[in-house]
Symmetry: C2
Subunit: 402 residues, 2 copies
């Protein structure tokens, strides 16, 4: 059987994610890893989950089929959280997904016909590029500095053979840069997408993890403030419990106008019926049990680890290396001197220094820029951070040596 | 925002499943429902699941990210089961999916480019049609009686603008007919697909639920017996724990040649990262705890309920109505006299007789045949079965009355 004879054209675009391949290295105990956007397992509320599952499994409801839109009490809890962020919505504006990765897949499926254009930041979350790739889009570079006109975006999309369908971005502490876009940039994005008549996909995966600075309202909140009603908005917001309660249970959500949610429900029905029932029940129970207190603790720990990483970088990086100073999330984005390549550096650093990170190229839709590294500070306290960053400094110095 | 301006062409093909809409009716206590292929909640091993989750949640492994291919001990357990069915395979031939519905979605995504042809039985599982629809195939009718030539299938696919990519079918106790295809038909299907050079998608969702008669080897087992090695086979087998242990946990699997599994792993990575970790761990624990004893009990109960339904049908159906006599699974497929319409009958029977079933039209890719009903016997013992089937008989008599 020659499988390439029967594959769909989209299947030929799929390739292994460098992050996922790298995760396999985390099992080696002598490697200090800054790869992977993984919550610290020690911070997952496992006792609460044990209690909640024991409570849930007094009957069979969690083991049985359930509705595609998701478990109502969980959607109600999410509605309450969204309202606090300025996103007034009804239960019918919320769909539960199996993690926010699935939301990206479904939104690609809903919106992209082959050759349509997706506007993305440069760099962008590589999992989003992976999810969208299956639907064969063309990528164009989203600029929030206003240096490209609507006509230019539109002409580029037409030249590529389709239309601009959406702009995708993570507004807060983006993966991989750690950067947050300003309120003014968010407003400009709404203007731009209003003119382009395209959707805005706002990825809120890290939104709750702010360590300092002032919160900026979600794009969807700003759009509702402007237009008066979620039903009139083009922003589709995705959220996740992966960075706060548990990544392994795969529970996330989408908030959008009713018409979008209704279509996503149909799509989910056809794709996997529903997100696991027990997982939704249990997450609803644990979320209802002092979510704010739990997240405050996460902020304290991760915020301290970010500080430790920034201090170590300041101490250990050779001249010519720069990095972002994120106000939240899990990542610092490092720019190496031009001419250095992150992937080559990783191969060398893994082998000789026993330290891991994610090379930056895969985060660019065109794969053009190679001198970047993504470092996650979520896992390590001072000793490992200091040692690991010193190892990276050593590897960079070696690479720079004439 | 005019959402239809930005939808992908595939999104316009999606429509609500009649079964899922009907499930909402199950909440009304005075309705006797034969709709939905739902395991009896009383037969789900909830104590075992409570014990298994308590054991699993002594640490955080179940709450953390895991690999896209699935939890190794679960894949190993599945490998053992597959070997008993004549499907010798390695762990690398197995992918864990979020239910076998997700397997159908992923296989459509892997294989179908728009206008490609999918061969399906007439009728076929409507969830498979729903999953495949998203990838915009054309359907052609699979005949196992040998009354269409390879050249005819090929010409039809070319005329439709693509190639035959696969034949999909449920070999045992198919949804909706309850029928099992013979060994000779399975062999003929392999011949046909060898000549067409297309894949075979074998849906084994009900395979374990045989109540009488002799087991027929899975198509994949017959193909391995013929070709000597799974790696040379074109059959992709999907299985599920939904009908045996729990539908709500959404755990299923795919067995296929390594090249197919590797591509599905990439696809799953991009689509939802992995099936929920805890669910896989817990299902592995419960499956390891006397699966055969548990399934033997299910067979006894469901087999008795099938007998009760067949007896009630023989007693209550007016002349001109016929039905299948399945050897397993959950469904009986009823043919009404020509001219009657299942959907009209349902509307009337729900309203006047308080009884529910699934009208058959949605199971036909061309929606052409309306005088069929699908009845599930999984939920009811004698009293409800007798009363419910009597009500359906009454409704049919009313519809037949001049």
């Amino acid at each position: 059987m020659q499988w390439t004879d029967v594959l769909a054209s989209r299947a030929l675009r799929m390739k292994a994610s460098e992050i996922r391949e790298l995760l396999k290295l985390l099992d080696q105990p002598d490697i200090i890893s800054f790869a992977g956007g993984i919550p610290d397992p020690a911070l997952l509320p496992v006792e609460k989950f044990a209690r909640a599952t024991a409570e849930a499994l007094v009957d069979t409801a969690g083991l049985q089929y359930s509705v595609s839109e998701g478990y109502l009490p969980l959607r109600q809890w999410i509605r309450g959280r969204m309202e606090k962020l300025g996103i007034a919505c009804a239960d019918e504006n919320i769909l539960i997904t199996s993690g926010s990765q699935q939301a990206l897949d479904y939104l690609g499926k809903l919106l992209i016909s082959p050759k349509d254009t997706a506007l993305v930041s440069w760099p962008t979350y590589l999992g989003a590029l992976g999810a969208f790739n299956a639907y064969e889009p063309v990528y164009d570079r989203l600029s929030l500095r206003g240096n490209r006109t609507v006509a230019q975006y539109r002409a580029a999309a037409e030249a590529a053979g389709g239309k601009v369908k959406f702009a995708y971005l993570s507004a807060d502490f983006a993966n991989p840069t750690g950067l947050t876009i300003t309120r003014e940039e968010r407003e400009r994005l709404i203007d731009l997408c209003d003119e382009l008549n395209c959707a805005i996909l706002e990825d809120g995966a890290y939104q709750q993890l702010r360590y300092n600075g002032e919160a900026v309202p979600p794009i969807l909140a700003l759009e509702i403030a402007r237009k008066g009603d979620l039903e009139k908005c083009r922003t589709i917001y995705s959220g996740s419990f992966s960075k706060t309660l548990s990544p392994g249970l795969r529970v996330g959500w989408v908030v959008a106008a009713r018409e979008v949610i209704e279509r996503l429900v149909l799509l989910k029905q056809a794709a996997d019926l529903h997100t696991a029932t027990l997982n939704q029940i249990v997450v609803a129970k644990v979320a209802a049990d002092d979510f704010d207190g739990h997240v405050a603790h996460l902020r304290e720990v991760y915020g301290r680890r970010r500080d430790l990483m920034l201090e170590a970088l300041a101490r250990e990086m050779p001249e010519g290396v720069s990095w972002t100073k994120p106000e939240g999330g899990m990542f610092v984005w490092v720019t190496l001197p031009e001419g250095l390549d992150g992937a080559a550096l990783l191969a060398d650093a893994l082998e000789r220094d026993k330290v891991a990170f994610v090379p930056g190229r895969a985060f660019y839709a065109d794969g053009a820029q190679g001198n970047m590294l993504r470092l996650s500070f979520s896992l390590h306290e001072k000793a490992a951070t200091d040692e690991g960053i010193a190892r990276i400094g050593r590897a960079i110095r070696r690479a720079l040596a004439p």
